[in-house]
């Protein structure tokens, strides 16, 4: 998945000469947390966040000792610069690691020096929701499998094919973390009746972890 697939293209921007008051107004009105600052050529020259506005306030207070004074200052004085940006053809997981490592929550998307979009933490989370398939009617199965070469994934998938069940999504994670012997495959499959395929897995090396039924009913 690429940045262009998850970014927003209608970006709210300001120029460096705008006032803090204008920025505050835009942040509140649009329920956003970041505004890229552009010049007359649509180049990104800075960025401000709701936190920048807030953090800037006390020092201004000391200087001017009145709130009106802060609000009439220009964006230029409080914006962060230079700005870390990304490109529409960057992988979305790359953006996730920038968010994680740099503790950002927003990246302007730039192509040929032009601002073309913006990607935020929220867009990133939405992309993950799409990846895990929870947007489509399905049942979730978690299957513990040996982590080795030998067509494990394709073999597991055969069981769904045989039952004519569509796979909505699949991802994997190590079990336990750092263990190199097993992996857990998480499938969302398009069926309301997973029982037949769960039974098919019973005599294999693959162990269904979820969903689980109690072995003995108390009834």
């Amino acid at each position: 998945m690429l940045v262009k697939d998850i970014m927003k293209t209608d970006v709210i921007t300001l120029t460096a000469n705008a006032t803090v008051e204008e920025a505050l107004h835009l942040l509140q009105k649009n329920h956003i947390r970041h505004i890229p600052i552009i010049n007359e050529s649509n180049h990104v020259i800075g960025i401000i966040s709701d936190r920048d506005v807030r953090d800037a306030s006390p020092s201004f207070l000391e200087e001017h000792n009145n709130r009106g004074g802060i609000l009439t200052r220009t964006i230029k004085e409080i914006m962060s610069t230079p700005v870390v940006t990304t490109h529409p053809y960057e992988f979305f997981e790359e953006v996730a690691s920038i968010f994680y490592q740099k503790e950002f929550a927003c990246l302007p998307v730039v192509r040929d020096k032009q601002l073309v979009g913006i990607v935020t933490e929220k867009d990133m989370l939405y992309a993950f929701i799409q990846l895990t398939g929870t947007h489509s009617p399905s049942t979730q199965l978690e299957i513990k499998v040996p982590d080795q070469i030998g067509g494990v994934l394709s073999d597991v998938c055969q069981y769904f094919t045989k039952r004519n069940i569509k796979i909505v999504s699949v991802y994997s994670y190590p079990d336990p973390p750092k263990d190199v012997v097993y992996k857990i495959l998480v499938f969302r499959i398009q069926t309301m009746n997973p029982m037949p395929v769960v039974k098919d897995f019973q005599n294999t090396d693959y162990q269904i972890l979820y969903p689980y039924w109690e072995d003995n009913h108390e009834f």
Binding site: T134, P137, S138, T139, T191, N193, M195, W213, F219
Partner: protein
């Protein structure tokens, strides 16, 4: 007993809604239920109403033309696009005459609405209905036509009443009914279901509250796996009473999936027969308090067709008909007749478990 208060919608043709022998959705449970009621002397012949086949136009109130056409083609044994229409899948295989079987099922639910709204009866029950997963453009989760959405459209268009929809199936019916009326403030949908964390279809989160004008007219109560009677009923009673008071419906449509029972093979809730006595009692009270009694009840899921479904739906009918429940031993003739065919011993008592 006032035998004219409640209509039981039934025709043998309901049993034609059948995918194949091993499929968990098995309408023989209708026969088992009706038999139990008749043998227990709780259902008289003059209460049984055969549904009139509806005009096809009512299908189009919910479903797209090309989907209805695809169902007809599959019904005639023709190949159709499985991925587009969801028929021919593991859940919803095609079968001969599936169009007719689905149409009569939906007809049953419209007949139930007609019986109530024309004032012939206060309550009507169609245990063949309640197929809440059906999408406007595709089959899903054993459901071909969404009889509930069609029935609600029928009420909205013909009578312009405010409809409260209560869904107590273990699966969230959000892909079907909730979605059809998501922006409609005149249809309030309320669902109690096992959390979608693992269970199909995965929707039904607390945060799903409706959109636009319909915001605030959709409620979801996801319950954790292994939830038992006491917690279930606490959540159900408190919330449905306050929602009904807030919404002030003109009529209640309820879906009575009974796959919330601990013995159900497809789900993980841990309720007993007790909730199938209490749910109808609570809805019945609300229908009389707010809707002058107008209440249409439908079937739904329920995959232990021997031990759970007949008793659960018999209790539902009993409450609708005379606000009583069956107690004590189950009818012996019924046991004799069906024990021969059941894969495990049938329960001996009406209540408990």
């Amino acid at each position: 007993m006032n035998s004219k208060q409640t209509a039981f919608i039934y025709t043998e043709e309901f049993l034609h809604y059948s995918f194949h022998e091993e499929h968990p959705f098995n309408q023989n449970r209708l026969l088992l239920t009706k038999d139990l009621l008749e043998m227990s002397g709780a259902l008289c012949q003059d209460q049984i109403i055969e549904p009139q086949l509806i005009d096809e136009k009512w299908l189009y109130a919910v479903h797209s033309n090309d989907y209805v056409e695809a169902v007809k083609q599959a019904s005639n044994g023709q190949e159709i696009d499985q991925h587009k229409y969801g028929i021919g899948t593991h859940d919803t295989p095609g079968f001969k005459h599936m169009y007719e079987a689905s149409l009569i099922t939906a007809s049953g639910s419209l007949e139930a609405c007609y019986q109530v709204l024309s004032g012939k009866v206060k309550h009507a029950l169609n245990i063949a209905g309640g197929l809440h997963h059906g999408f406007p453009t595709r089959a899903s989760g054993f459901c071909i036509f969404n009889d509930i959405a069609i029935a609600i459209q029928y009420i909205r268009k013909n009578y312009n009443l405010k409809v409260l929809y209560i869904d107590t199936d273990a699966h969230h019916g959000g892909d079907g009914v909730q979605q059809c009326f998501y922006d409609d403030p005149n249809v309030c949908t309320v669902s109690f279901h096992e959390t979608g964390r693992y269970l199909y279809p995965g929707t039904g989160k607390i945060s799903e509250r409706g959109i636009k004008g319909g915001f605030g007219y959709c409620f979801n109560f996801p319950l954790d796996a292994f939830t038992e009677d006491q917690s279930y009923l606490e959540v159900f009673k408190e919330s449905i009473e306050s929602i009904t008071e807030y919404f002030k419906p003109d009529i209640i449509i309820s879906q009575h999936g009974v796959d919330t029972h601990a013995l159900d093979p497809l789900t993980h809730l841990h309720c007993t027969l007790h909730i199938f006595e209490e749910i109808p009692k609570i809805i019945n009270k609300l229908a009389h308090k707010y809707c002058d009694g107008k209440w249409v009840a439908l079937g739904g899921g329920g995959y232990d067709i021997w031990r759970v479904v007949p008793r659960a739906w018999a209790q539902l009918w009993r409450v609708m008909n005379d606000d009583q429940i069956f107690e004590g031993k189950i009818n012996l003739d019924w046991l004799d007749k069906w024990n021969k065919l059941a894969p495990f011993p049938l329960p001996l008592r009406m209540a408990r478990l």
